[in-house]
Symmetry: C2
Subunit: 551 residues, 2 copies
């Protein structure tokens, strides 16, 4: 892993100079009043807060007792083996050193509750228990420590709990993302053991319980991919669209755009999209740029990162929201924010009509330090102008976007000149003329090549052995999108089957934050135990299958 | 430590045969209804529950930041050194690996609260904190693990806490017994640190805030001993009289008797004594014997231990309650329980009028495996008959105790014959004719020797180099009592000064469960980190100073 990735992984965008702790303005060193936004955006917070959904809680029973078994040839290196029916648990008396692992089947975001009963000649001490929650077998099969990751170990899903007086109904206060729960009895006393009764998961989500049925013709493997994708979205839908329920739990602009798209095609909770769009607009930085993310708890406040491509995609998300709902009033209220993002990023378009990386700005595109982002970012921005022009028309605000058509034309022409490699029939990026799937995808989405050119470029690139491929479902979403846009429907389907289907084959119940078929245990953070295995940006197969008819 | 002590330490009284877990009747394997006592004693539970006190909570500020410094010549091997004023804490930003220790000055039973604020460029993760609560410097100066004790490690006063969203007001849910709090920041994220603001202890007790002033003539050192003793009782006075607020937290008959005595001379919460006496009577075993202790939470239930000397002392505690309050109605209601204890223990008095250890019965007397308990237990039982006869007279129930005077006379005479060693002028116990302070004290209290004989025996024994001395404040209470009874006032005072004063000199803020001047780090449980440093049975100097005029 390169230094830049480490920096990014740590959220250390070089754009914002590190400040001495003492004068850090946000979040407030002393508690600010909830929703302490700049005065002119406080109504945006108010709208967002009025749309905060009540979560739906579903009680779920564990399905079986399991134990992890090493499986060196499996993608995650472990598989689960049944240890017997879960009914056996209530009869077991556990003492110091005893442990068990429950499989709840599938993934959920939620809580754990149980009744802890002391059994023995004297229940004369507290019980001390250790819980480890796992999204995948790896989480509970391998020791979490020593932890080597760059992100806070406070995200690790383990917890030591003392239950002082037995019997007692216990509901762990912390929310977890899990399928598996490993429970270790650290101690009782020599006089008693404990029984776990009525162990329950309490799944929470703001997604509807009912998912519309798939069209009849969708084949079985795609049905499973859709099911896993929808579960991914469901478990990320809380009081905002979270990026991942296990870690970060934040609303990010880039993630939101693809979550919202998938949401329209599935659960269609449009109020949650509106709330999320308003939250992102409510905490602009001094120059009016919106943060890459906002925090929601204990009260909404501005995230400290800025990501240029995410800022551009904000407008795309607003357009899609207005299209999905007809809520032009919201579109107009958010219009100044949308427009300002293009103005700010558009400043880096040089006299030749090319986006010129000013340095020090976080351009995400993908979790891949090796990726040259020049052409991709040009594509994102150009796509942003096109979509936001559509939004202006939809809202009757063409005058506001009067300069866009000329800019779109100039940037399109410039891209053809700068990035196209006619000899190889692909688009390239950077001084080393790097060929990446990101570049082909984003220039295609931006409308730079013709359909035929795009198809040729995507096909040629994907056959090159040294092409820089996508390492996240997020970028692969845009690759699939581009394949569909230029008519490569079969290839789009193949990619969904190979990439998302690869995760399903590896045992995924929800789709992962990072996945590379060659490196299934890849971590952008230096320790796979901090990876998120239910990550919003990977939910889009349901969008393609349901919203784009991919099947 | 001998096997017997280990057994006892583990609560494994050999009287009750170990049962298979599955058929253990109490506490109920499945939750019994609260207060599920035998039907004929349920009204006793009802009375006890009606007397459950509301606790008084006092907010307390930490006094300073401290750090432990090795002090090999100090009794506890560590002393605390100031690290600066506590005001410095609010300004400190703590990151992964940082730690501090607060000194709240003195001991309390209670809770900890604070405001945790994130400071930095991005408060983007939970904070994971480890708390260690210490009654004495040893608790926070030395690692608690690996733990070597025989009691449950779940009693150890350490806790790992995740605070998911900052800023947040946190009140740790577990109650602790402490003067010191060590806080370690296990992790934040690279983007922020935490500040601790408004750190507060919430002391809880059912003792009155105001302690009656000591008589003017009491010298300074005894004032300090009284203060520490009263603090010990205060911190053990919760919704029952607990034996120790740090561990066990249980109502034990033997502890109650000396706590109640001290309570009458200090806080005088007589309702709490009544509640405690009723709770102990409410959960008889099948033969009518009362358990050595009862548990109070989550609902009152029977403890699994039986201690013969404690059962006898129950009647003494009832007598003293009736004397202190005039509540003869309660005395009459508890009379059958009182009488039954003597009947049951009295069965082991043989034809010679001597208590004969039937084997397998837990006779406590002191934490000391080397102690021969024959003579002491005889003394306890004889004392029990004398006091319970007094109780019968006070309640107008002489007819119920008609057989007692003859039995008292016979046991007194038998004791003189069996235990007195005229050549050495002491009382001895067991086949090896062991001389112990326990034997001298209990036979004196039981009225076996004349005052002069008792004085001679106590003086002679205390001068013998191989005398078995008391290892707990509990037995030393009875030694002081005996010294006072036979007029050795100066020696009683000397013992209080040497023994309890020794703990004060070693830094005690409350008196300890176990203390031996030669072995200040003695543990009855195999690990000093599980010792209780605020233990009810050590609170009696306040009784002697205030109630018996010792000064």
């Amino acid at each position: 892993m390169k230094r830049r990735d480490l920096l990014l992984a740590a959220g250390l965008s070089p754009l914002v100079p590190a400040r001495a702790f003492a004068d850090a303005p946000r979040p407030p060193a002393d508690p600010a009043p909830p929703g302490a936004a700049a005065s002119d955006t406080s109504h945006l917070v108010a709208v967002a807060e009025s749309l905060k959904p009540a979560l739906r809680e579903t009680l779920q029973l564990p399905l079986s007792l399991v134990r992890p078994v090493a499986a060196p040839s499996a993608a995650l290196r472990w598989r689960m083996e049944s240890e017997g029916p879960v009914e056996a648990l209530a009869g077991r008396v556990l003492k110091k050193g005893d442990a068990f692992t429950l499989d709840f089947g599938g993934h959920r975001t939620g809580y754990l509750s149980f009744r802890l009963v002391g059994v023995g000649r004297g229940v004369d001490a507290p019980a001390r228990l250790r819980f480890t929650f796992g999204e995948v077998p790896t989480d509970v099969a391998e020791p979490l420590y020593p932890y080597k990751g760059g992100l806070s170990s406070a995200w690790l899903q383990d917890e030591v709990v003392n239950v002082d007086f037995l019997p007692q109904d216990v509901r762990l206060p912390r929310r977890y993302a899990f399928r598996y729960v490993k429970v270790e009895v650290l101690d009782t006393s020599p006089n008693f053991g404990v029984q776990f009764r009525d162990v329950r998961a309490h799944a929470v989500t703001s997604a509807d319980a009912a998912l519309p049925p798939l069209p009849a013709g969708v084949p079985e493997d795609l049905r499973r991919i859709d099911e896993v994708a929808a579960a991914t979205l469901r478990d990320c839908m809380q009081t905002t669209f979270e990026d991942g329920p296990r870690r970060d739990q934040r609303l990010w602009t880039g993630d939101l755009r693809v979550q919202a798209l998938t949401n329209y095609a599935t659960f269609n909770n449009t109020a949650l999209v509106k709330r999320s769009l308003y939250l992102l607009a409510a905490f602009p930085r001094e120059d009016g740029s919106i943060p890459a993310c906002v925090f929601e708890k204990p009260f909404p406040f501005q995230g400290h990162e800025y990501i240029a491509d995410y800022a551009v995609l904000y407008g795309v998300a607003v357009l899609e929201y207005v299209r999905a709902t007809g809520d032009a009033a919201a579109g107009r209220e958010l219009w100044p924010t949308v427009k300002r993002q293009l103005e700010l990023v558009g400043r880096h378009v040089n006299a030749d009509g090319l986006f010129a990386d000013p340095g020090g700005v976080w351009i995400f595109i993908d979790w891949n330090a090796a990726l040259d982002r020049t052409a991709s970012m040009h594509g994102v921005l150009l796509y942003g102008y096109r979509q936001v022009l559509e939004l202006a028309r939809l809202l009757g605000l063409e005058a506001e976007a009067a300069a866009y058509p000329e800019r779109i034309a100039r940037m399109t022409a410039a891209a053809r000149g700068a990035f196209h490699d006619p000899a190889r029939q692909v688009f390239v990026s950077g001084p080393k003329r790097q060929v990446s799937m990101a570049t082909q995808a984003w220039l295609t989405i931006a409308g730079v090549p013709s359909k035929a050119e795009a198809a040729a470029a995507l096909s040629a690139a994907s056959r090159m052995p040294d092409v820089v491929r996508a390492r996240t479902p997020y970028l692969n979403h845009y690759v699939v999108d581009a394949l569909l846009l230029c008519g490569l429907r079969r290839e789009a389907l193949e990619l969904v089957r190979a990439y998302w289907g690869g995760m399903v084959a590896a045992g995924a119940d929800t789709f992962w934050e990072a996945y590379s078929p060659e490196e299934p245990l890849l971590s952008p953070y230096g320790d796979r135990h901090i990876n998120s295995y239910c990550h919003a940006w990977s939910c889009t197969p349901s969008y393609f299958i349901r919203g784009r008819g991919l099947a």
